[in-house]
């Protein structure tokens, strides 16, 4: 394991060293590139003056709030569509018509309606997060072992308990996968909105660094966003394994 991860680090480290050597050798003067050492220094600087921490807070607040809202909406509709086939067929055309709209295309409307700031960004993130959760939780509910639904009927479990005690736990491992997908999307969309127009968060930080002709700082932001996305994914993967290791296994076996 350690041997493997050590091997996996050889190439990226090699590339970094090569870039550093190349930048120093050519006395790199660029608006878009900077030697790795300067990027690291810029990152430390941004931490020292707390600017990157404030930006991170803003971006994550928007991303997570949007993710939470989108997940709740997607889950509610996904479960309802999964249970009530008639409802699903009624809504199918509507869903398929709205779903392909790129979330970022809502930006102009959201901007007019809500102005700059968190609310507009949260709405766009939420819109993007609804779909994976809706589609996957609908599929998850539909693929619940029919025998379990018969057990629920035979026990005369009331409808609310049926959803809470059978449907949601049975579908939860797959719903969590959808949540993980949406979490990644939330971060991407939040940063995109900030780069495009919203003057806050990490995306705005990148734009500011670019306009200030600071490629080192711009790339430092980029590296930091990568680190956050990577950490988020690891966190959710570990959580998934911890929470659903058993359920996922026994749910798959006949």
């Amino acid at each position: 394991m350690t041997g493997n991860s050590a091997k996996a680090l050889v190439l990226p480290l090699g590339v970094l060293v090569a870039l550093e050597v190349w930048a120093r050798a050519t006395h790199l003067q660029s608006d878009s590139l900077a030697p790795p050492s300067e990027i690291v220094m810029a990152l430390f600087g941004a931490f020292a003056d707390l600017s990157i921490l404030a930006a991170t807070r803003d971006t994550l607040f928007s991303a997570f709030t949007g993710l939470a809202i989108g997940t709740i909406i997607g889950l509610a509709f996904g479960i309802a569509f999964g249970i009530f086939d008639t409802f699903n067929r009624l809504m199918e055309v509507t869903v398929e018509a709205i779903r392909p709209i790129p979330s970022i295309a809502l930006l102009p409307i959201a901007l007019i309606a809500l102005g700059f700031g968190y609310r507009m960004e949260i709405v766009i993130v939420a819109f993007a997060c609804v779909w994976p959760v809706l589609i996957l939780s609908r599929a998850a509910v539909r693929s619940i072992e029919p025998r379990l639904m018969e057990v629920a009927r035979a026990l005369r479990l009331p409808p609310a308990q049926r959803v809470w005690k059978i449907i949601i736990p049975a579908a939860l491992p797959r719903i969590f996968v959808a949540f993980r997908l949406s979490a990644g999307i939330a971060l991407i969309v939040a940063v995109t909105v900030e780069i495009a127009i919203n003057p806050l968060g990490l995306g705005a930080g990148i734009m500011l660094a670019q306009q200030a002709l600071r490629p080192d700082l711009m790339l430092a932001y980029l590296v930091w966003i990568g680190i956050i996305g990577y950490a988020l994914n690891i966190l959710l993967t570990v959580a998934q394994r911890r929470l659903f290791g058993r359920a996922a296994l026994s749910g798959d076996s006949p």
């Binding site: 018969e150 035979a154 005690k165 059978i166 049975a170 939860l172």
Partner: protein, 267 residues
């Protein structure tokens, strides 16, 4: 034909049946699965249903459970029409692996039936422990179904059904997937559980020996469409015993009769 059950009742002078099929026909997807089935099951009776595969024995059980509604005819429980499943009727499914909640422990699976019945949470643990002890699973409360053998999982499902305090227990080939030793052990346990609770049982099986060993009465269904082909009363002394009951001349006579019936029904 509709009055067949009534006539039987008048002749035998027995009490009103707990479950009654009155000229029940069921069509699914344009195919007639069960045709004109009339049948009464007395309170406390142990009725076994056998038949070649595809004869509709499981379907008959699902009709009794209220999971299917007849296309024509009536299914009554305690004199009332069955429109949906009832709490007094518990079903033991053959595929215990699919009928148990994999994310709940043994105790949690039993608890589900108590929760559905609205038992306050403070009273549940004692009842769960008692039920698990009844089915021979004391000390396994914290195990997940995936950590239990097939026999234990089926015991657990039976415990969950007993938690409903059912008047009627419907069992759909409950031991079909278990090995012979486990199966015999569970047969005897079901007999003593049923004797203790006085529940009515409809037991579907493809094992003719099992049907005679357990039942007060055995019904053999004919396939395409499912209808009653033979009805045998089992006058073997209780409690039954795996060795002496199976060696009883009456047992052997019934076994021969049932085997001949099944053989003939397959042609």
């Amino acid at each position: 034909m509709a009055s067949a059950a009534k006539r039987l009742e008048a002749i035998s002078g027995m009490p009103a049946p707990q479950i009654r099929f009155d000229a029940v026909t069921l069509q699914l997807g344009g195919k007639t699965i069960i045709e004109d089935l009339s049948l009464g099951v007395q309170p406390g009776e142990f009725l076994c249903i056998v038949g070649a595969s595809g004869c509709g024995k499981t379907t008959a059980l699902r009709l009794a459970a209220g999971l299917y509604q007849p296309t024509s005819g009536k299914v009554n429980f305690d004199g009332q029409p069955m429109r949906e499943p009832r709490r007094e009727i518990a079903i033991v499914f053959q595929d215990y692996g699919k009928a148990l909640l994999p994310w709940r422990t043994a105790a949690g699976n039993v608890s589900l039936a108590l929760e559905a019945g609205g038992m306050p949470s403070a009273e549940r643990p004692a009842r769960i422990e008692e039920l698990l002890r009844t089915v021979g699973l004391p000390g396994h409360a914290g195990k997940y179904p995936s950590e239990m053998s097939g026999g234990m999982q089926q015991r657990l499902q039976i415990a969950r059904c007993l938690a409903q305090e059912p008047k009627t227990l419907l069992m759909d080939e409950p031991f079909g997937a278990l090995d012979a030793m486990t199966r015999q052990g569970l047969q005897d346990e079901v007999l003593s559980l049923v004797a203790a609770s006085g529940a009515t049982v409809i037991f579907v099986t493809h094992d003719l020996d099992e049907a005679i060993y357990l039942g007060d009465r055995v019904i053999g269904l004919l396939p395409h469409p499912g209808r009653i082909g033979i009805e045998l009363s089992v006058n073997l002394p209780r409690p039954r015993d795996q060795l002496s009951t199976r060696e009883h001349p009456e047992f052997l006579r019934l076994r021969r009769q049932l085997f001949d019936f099944i053989k003939a029904s397959e042609h």
